[in-house]
Amino acid sequence: MDLHLTPEHEMVRKMVRDFAEKEVAPIIQEWDRKGEMAPHILPRMAELGILGICLPVRYGGQGFDYLSLGLACEELEVVDTTLRVIMSVHMGLNSLGLLQWGSEEQKIRFLVPQARGEKVAAFGLTESGAGSDVAAMASTARRAGDDYVLNGEKIWISLATKAHHVLWFAKTDPVATDPHDGISAFVVETALPGVSCGDLHGKLGVRAGSTGWVSCQDVRVPSSHRLGEEGEGFRIAMSCLDNGRYTVASGATGLIRASLEASLRYAQERRTFGRPIAGHQLVQQKIARMVQSYEAARLLYWQAGWLKNIGRRNTRETSMAKWFATDASVEAALEAIQIHGAYGYSDEYPVERYLRNAKGAVIYEGTSEIHTLMQAGYALGTRTDAALRLELPAYDAAAWQAAAA
């Protein structure tokens, strides 16, 4: 067993950290207040290669492993959750789904520009009446000759107004005996006629990001844009979530670290009863607990990243990492505010933003309740993961780094 990061991992981490600290940290509060994404963020993340970090070089990516993706997400979310959300949808939920399920032609057409950051990608699963209950979705895809005609509206879509491609889930068989088997997946280009989108405002957190709705009205897509087979959509969506949840887990680990670092700073500056508050045992208890959460969350996502690297199914471990890290990030942010006292309650310090951002992640990509039930199911033997027709490929350094033929 070796838990050392390689020098390559360390350099990736430092590079992403430097970007987030220098180019985003100084302006994030302003954009969080405005409720908009700072316009330079996506172009810079594209230019630096972050948007293609763990995709093979031959598909326009940077050829790094899945652990590097987690490390990058941790560093991004230390500065702001919205940076990590970009990686969750663009990479975790969409691009890795294309890598796993896409035909060579689809990879060339859609994955390459996404890996290069020329196109931004989102994930359209949730609807107003279908969150945890995915099979309740109302979106439809009707076969029309060699095309499909898509209708429906997706909501709570990250990067809704930024994305060029949406991985879109809709029912090709609305009357399937098992409604899960009636769902298919499509790549929808948002420039197509009939696609519209907008951002939602009034959110508790992730305010410096784009969260919105995407609607398809009689949108025609060729059948060659269907990902996987007809009826395979639910399994595709769940496999995408295995990767999205990994980015949420690693990001939430970063959010715990942000709460911890802010608390360490403040507890050593602020004095009460003649000494820094760090000298008080109840403050120490909060800090110790954050350290514990941080290290446990980090080990859990490292484990998930390692499993991905060696090509082993990791639905259980990824769910565990996501569940633990997001719950712990809410707790850490709450305690960080408590340590900051009244100052923590105002946006003079970043900890209130950490709390607002943390709360979203115990809801999206599987609520904490869903993950609780999943873990109980695995423990009781009532839940097992059936093999998929196509699994996420194991990381192979030589194959990932080989240039296009």
């Binding site: 020098p7 390559e8 990736v12 590079m15 430097d18 630096l48 940077q62 790094f64």
Partner: protein, 260 residues
């Protein structure tokens, strides 16, 4: 252009310095490429991008200094060389400059040697000038801009950062140029650069390899370091019913404290 950038591995600037048994200690702070040297690496890379040629990163230090060289490679340097030798462990800047000058001679045909203006740990700021003196090259320190560089005419013009002004200086090549942070914005390493750097085998030269035998003895040592007494700052809020009342109280307090 044959460009060399001399770099040092230093503790992270976020690390706090403490005095332990009369010696400076940064605890277990992470070691990084000296932040001032990032500007030097950037300038070396820009010089190559404009004029062609190659950039070699050169460091003298313990074997761990390889990491600073890897960071330089990740940013885009073509090659790196580490000079390390037990006899150089206690080097002062005079010894360091002898080693770097010898290594620059061994590299050969160098047109420009870039340096950061100083290292964040020892803060002497004289190594670049000493290297220039040893090589007999012009010493262009505190460079904030390079408005002209003409390899065919073997000339370089730099703006040196002075207090409240800039001084334009012209010199011939080869030259030593130390840079200040106003000169550029250092790039991040690219992912491709990181991969190349992590696989790179960095040649290691001993004192004998660079012909520095015997290694001269250091003329400076740090027999003692004293931590400055901590300044205790206390903050007091003056309250009052009206601004006038608060101002009056403030004035009397400033009188009491003999500030005014």
């Amino acid at each position: 252009m044959n460009v060399v950038v001399c770099v040092k591995q230093t503790p992270d600037t976020a690390a706090s310095l403490s005095v332990k048994d009369g010696r400076a200690s940064w605890g277990d702070a992470p070691l990084v490429l000296n932040p001032w040297d990032e500007y030097a690496v950037e300038q070396a890379l820009r010089t190559k991008e404009t004029h062609g040629g190659k950039v070699t990163a050169l460091s003298m230090g313990p074997t761990e200094a390889r990491e600073a060289l890897k960071q330089s490679l990740a940013m885009g340097c073509d090659e790196a060389v580490l000079v390390t030798d037990p006899a150089l462990a206690e080097a002062d800047s005079l010894v360091t400059s002898a080693a770097l000058a010898a290594a620059l001679r061994k590299i050969g045909d160098v047109d420009i040697a870039f340096f950061g203006k100083q290292a964040v740990d020892t803060d002497t700021g004289v190594t670049a000038a000493q290297v220039a003196r040893r090589l007999g090259w012009p010493s262009l320190t505190l460079t904030a801009a390079i408005p002209a560089l003409d390899p065919s005419q073997r000339s370089i013009t730099v703006e040196r950062m002075m207090e409240e002004s800039r001084q334009t200086v012209r010199a011939g090549l080869p030259a030593v140029v130390s840079v200040v942070k106003e000169i550029n914005e250092p790039r991040y390493p690219s992912f491709m650069g990181i991969r190349r750097a992590s696989k790179a085998e960095i040649p290691v030269w001993s004192a004998a390899d660079i012909g520095l035998t015997p290694v001269p003895a250091a003329v400076l040592s740090w027999p003692e370091m004293i931590a400055p007494p901590k300044v205790e700052v206390s903050c007091e809020f003056i309250e009052g019913a009206t601004p006038q009342e608060i101002a009056a109280q403030l004035v009397s307090k400033l009188f009491e404290a003999k500030v005014i």
